[in-house]
């Protein structure tokens, strides 16, 4: 009797997995069969993920993640979230995620070590200034004289060094919260972020601060495109790319962007 039940259970489990995996481009390619494991930051920030709860599907990256998963044939319940730091994402060895999305800018250097999907968002860099410097003109000349800060692991560091070329060496920090603390303590005048993050920080986090300008997205070193990060040589890349291309073409991506990312047209271009 016991044997009979276990055989029944086993065959049921078998049917369950095959029915889930049936017809997937992603079949046999994910970490756990039938599940799609996505990593995000710890914590994950607004407006990318709302309330640090990606499971809700609220926030731009969370919404994109579920749209991609859906396109690949996974139902919402099959999406598993894990947390990862940048270092965990690039360290050699086995990964604990299928894809990792936390505003990773696609760069040629990084691409040699990990794989990126096609981009799901193009973010211009923007300048956030503290309460003491809000009347700074949106010109490179005026920006040079400011005391700069940025998160050390972002492409903003290169943007400051190559485009702004400030007179004082910039100060670099570990995460957004520390940059906020430095702006609040008036240790730096200005910080460089991608535009949606800058708008959020200015509106919600740092009293009296202002986004005074964004860099034209046509600039060669400013094509800050966010891609989903995968282990180098991951066979899933083709499926993820296909899904992202599909939601780009059918307008789903654009509507998610319109819903979660603020209207960025009000921010002047830096000359």
């Amino acid at each position: 009797m016991v044997k009979l039940i276990s055989i029944a259970a086993a065959s049921f489990a078998f049917m369950a997995t095959t029915s889930l995996a049936g017809g997937h481009c992603a079949a046999d390619k994910t970490l756990t069969e039938g599940k799609f494991t996505i990593a995000t930051g710890n914590p994950a920030y607004y407006p990318w993920v709302m309330d640090d709860a990606p499971e809700s599907g609220q926030g731009f990256e969370a919404a994109v993640a579920y749209a991609v998963a859906n396109e690949m044939g996974f139902v919402a319940a099959d999406v598993v979230w894990v947390r990862s730091s940048f270092d965990e994402a690039i360290q050699p060895g086995v990964k604990n995620f299928d894809v990792n999305m936390q505003q990773y800018s696609i760069t040629a250097e990084r691409d040699q070590v990990v794989d990126f999907s096609v981009p799901y968002y193009t973010a211009p860099m923007a300048v956030l200034v503290g309460a003491g410097a809000t009347d700074t003109a949106a010109t490179l000349e005026a920006l040079k004289g400011l005391k700069w800060g940025a998160v050390g692991s972002t492409t903003a560091v290169q943007k400051i060094a190559n485009t702004v070329k400030p007179t004082n060496d910039p100060l670099l920090y570990g995460d957004n919260a520390d940059v906020n603390a430095a702006i609040s303590a008036n240790q730096i005048d200005a910080a460089m972020f991608d535009l949606p993050t800058a708008l959020f920080l200015s509106a919600v986090m740092i009293e009296g601060s202002k986004v005074i300008g964004q860099f034209p997205s046509a600039e060669s070193d400013n094509a800050d495109q966010f891609g989903m990060l995968m282990e180098e040589g991951n066979s899933l890349k083709a499926c993820v790319d296909e899904a992202l291309t599909a939601i780009t073409e059918n307008g789903v991506l654009a509507s998610i962007e319109a819903k979660w990312l603020q209207n960025t047209t009000g921010v002047p271009l830096i000359k």
């Binding site: 070590v113 050390g152 303590a185 240790q187």
Partner: protein, 277 residues
């Protein structure tokens, strides 16, 4: 002819030479064996190629090493102004804790509280709290610089440790010396300055060398509040190249400085042991 050595080595000398040779051979053989195991077996691990590419990448190292050296100058600067301040404050705290006069009891309490607090809190927390907290009060530039307040955090923490070492040095001077000096008519201050401290400081030099080495590494903690010293610079390169080799480069630079310093501390320690024997 009165050359007593004509017979050559004694049997004892022969035996001892044999033993020395034997132990040198064993040491050499075991060293070669261990090195061979490392060189042969580590690369046989399945992930070695990936590890080599992301931790020991020659191209990335040559590209980043000069800039890491530049950033290390910042470490040296912070170290250079923090170390003397630590020595002075540490000595003061040690003396405060050892104050004998009843009127100075509050000073003793202060010394004890100071060491309790700053030895008990992790350095990084002190750096964060002082480095962002005090400038947040609204100090004008340049007085809110993270260099000033970060260094102060290091000075406070390390003074607590250094004070305890100084105190053990002071305690190691036998009380009879104090009594003898007092009976000769020296004042308390003279006893402290001319009799106790010179010996106390000398006794703890090797231990304090170790604190210097530790400080030299902990300067990197200031990177958390803004200064771009070697650890932060390596982190920037790590993100840029998605490669950990810059960290290895930074570690090499640290070792170039700390290994001679550690050897020197060992030498001082050994010399002190010999003198005491």
């Amino acid at each position: 002819m009165n050359n007593t050595k004509a017979a050559g080595q004694t049997r004892r000398e022969k035996y001892e030479q044999h033993q020395r040779r034997r132990s040198m051979l064993i040491a050499a053989a075991s060293t070669i064996l261990v090195l061979a195991a490392l060189v042969i077996f580590v690369p046989m691990a399945p992930g070695w190629e990936k590890v080599q590419k992301s931790f020991f990448n020659a191209a990335v190292l040559t590209k980043t090493f000069p800039k890491l050296l530049d950033a290390f100058v910042v470490n040296v600067m912070i170290f250079a102004w923090s170390a003397p301040a630590i020595a002075i404050l540490g000595l003061f705290i040690a003396l405060a804790r050892n104050a004998k006069s009843p009127a100075l009891f509050p000073l003793r309490i202060f010394g004890a509280t100071f060491t309790d607090v700053f030895r008990g809190v992790p350095v990084i927390l002190t750096v964060y709290l002082i480095g962002f907290g005090i400038p947040g009060l609204g100090l004008p530039r340049p007085w809110n610089s993270p260099f000033i307040w970060g260094s102060l955090a290091l000075v406070l923490t390390y003074s607590a440790y250094v004070a305890e070492i100084f105190r053990s040095g002071i305690d190691s001077v036998h009380p009879s010396q104090r009594s003898a000096a007092l009976s000769l008519g020296l004042t308390e201050l003279q006893v402290l300055r001319d009799v106790v401290l010179p010996q106390a400081v000398r006794n703890v030099v090797p231990s304090q060398m170790n604190m210097l080495i530790a400080l030299q590494k902990d300067v990197s903690l200031l990177s958390f509040i803004g200064p771009v010293e070697i650890f932060r610079q390596a982190g920037v390169f790590k993100s840029l190249f998605a490669n950990f080799t810059p960290y290895v480069g930074a570690a090499i630079i640290f070792l170039i400085v700390t290994i001679p310093a550690t050897r020197y501390a060992d030498y001082l320690m050994a010399r002190q042991m010999r003198e005491r024997r």
